[in-house]
Symmetry: C2
Subunit: 251 residues, 2 copies
């Protein structure tokens, strides 16, 4: 059930822990102060909570501070397509147009902490700090690239390749925001059903394919942690070319 936890003390944006992981581009003190006053507060939601439903517009924008989530769409048959996974630093809600119904839902994979802004104030960002407006466009375009990548997988790769792709891709993304443990493992709160829904595969086939990949020593999952035994082999298998990671904006 979507438990909403007591609102924790809101961390000041200037001290935002995300800004220390090095994945994000720096902002001026003025910009950070502006973001700060835009922010209406932090919220914490439990695993499985639905941040927003399909067809409903919550009028709020979020930045994921901690935890994982995903964007999805459901067909009338009940089939669900996961559009992309959301990790710390990701911005949520740009696709919702003011006053329009949202075409997708957002659900949390883990307990998560989010930073909240009223969507109605997004415009202020553009008028007061054009450079932040530019950043928001960057963020939107970047998320589209991730969806592109998923579409390529689902449309052109075999089940084995899709799974390899998902593993390596999420692994890299997790690492990029500092989630990697000293032993090289990263948290992996994704069930096989989630993987199936993201990759356009049945649960059964996902399980069997995953099993073969695991048996052949490509990866291991235990206690919700993912270890990639042979990253190069997985990358090759998935036909994955890592684009050099660049600093990205954080709002």
């Amino acid at each position: 059930m979507p438990r909403k936890y007591a609102t924790p003390a809101s961390v000041p944006c200037a001290q935002c822990p995300l800004r220390r992981v090095g994945a994000f581009s720096a902002n001026t003190p003025e910009e950070i102060a502006f973001i700060q006053q835009l922010k209406s507060g932090d919220i914490v939601l439990g695993a499985g909570a639905v941040l927003s439903r399909e067809g409903v517009n919550i009028g709020q924008l979020h930045t994921l501070l901690e935890g994982w989530a995903f964007r999805f769409r459901t067909l009338s048959s009940g089939a669900r397509q996961i559009l992309n996974f959301l990790l710390p630093g990701d911005f949520i809600g740009l696709q919702e147009r003011l006053g329009a119904h949202s075409s997708h839902g957002v659900e949390l994979l883990t307990t998560a902490r989010l930073c909240r802004f009223p969507a109605a104030r997004l415009r202020e960002l553009y008028t007061h700090h054009p450079s932040l407006g530019y950043d928001v466009t960057w963020i939107a375009a970047h998320e589209e690239l991730i969806v592109d990548e998923n579409l390529v997988s689902v449309g052109q790769r075999t089940a084995m390749q899709r799974i390899a792709m998902l593993l390596i891709h999420l692994y890299k993304r997790a690492c990029s925001v500092g989630l990697q443990h000293p032993d090289g493992r990263v948290p992996f709160p994704v069930t096989q059903q989630h993987m199936a829904d993201a990759l356009g595969l049945s649960l059964v086939h996902t399980n069997k394919t995953l099993h073969r990949l695991r048996t052949s020593g490509h990866f291991a999952i235990s206690n919700g942690m993912l270890a990639l035994k042979r990253p190069e082999a997985i990358s090759r298998l998935a036909d994955y070319y890592a684009r050099p990671l660049r600093e990205r904006p954080l709002i």
Copy 2:
């Protein structure tokens, strides 16, 4: 071969024919004048021309004025995934980051006329006209929704549904920019190979499925024109819910 036609006289933005079809939101004369001086000119390319290649950044942004195009990615196996189709009014190049390699290519389906801007000047839009910057974000987010829709099709719909979806979707989009003829038909410069590449299907299966849809009287294609005989039946088949069309920005 990518023939580049002689550069035609550039149409002034204030007289842009696209602004008359009613699908686009109005801009102030100042905004239009600003866009005008940003524009480096019109170009016309022939069908099959490659506007930009995967891995290459052309440093140019375009608005498609006339004609059709598509964005795509190719795997090392040679398999190609069409990410989305581009129709008049669509903006091209937002996913390319300055200095970064492009992850996808753009190819023309028909002879097309495009309006060109230097990508390096995009920032000026935000500083001089924040509202246009906001529009650009809108455009990026909107294109993502279209890719989302494609991903849902490829991941969750049957071959029959995918094709129905593609037909109805492109039909509506073509209508929205005034391409509909009095008899209800719209131009349809998409080959079966393009459909297959967009839907993650083989050419053979695309052909056979298309054949069944045509035989059952759902649609007809002749002379590069598409007629939808029973739009409701196709929509139902595809599990397609049309979102109300709203005016969208044009840059």
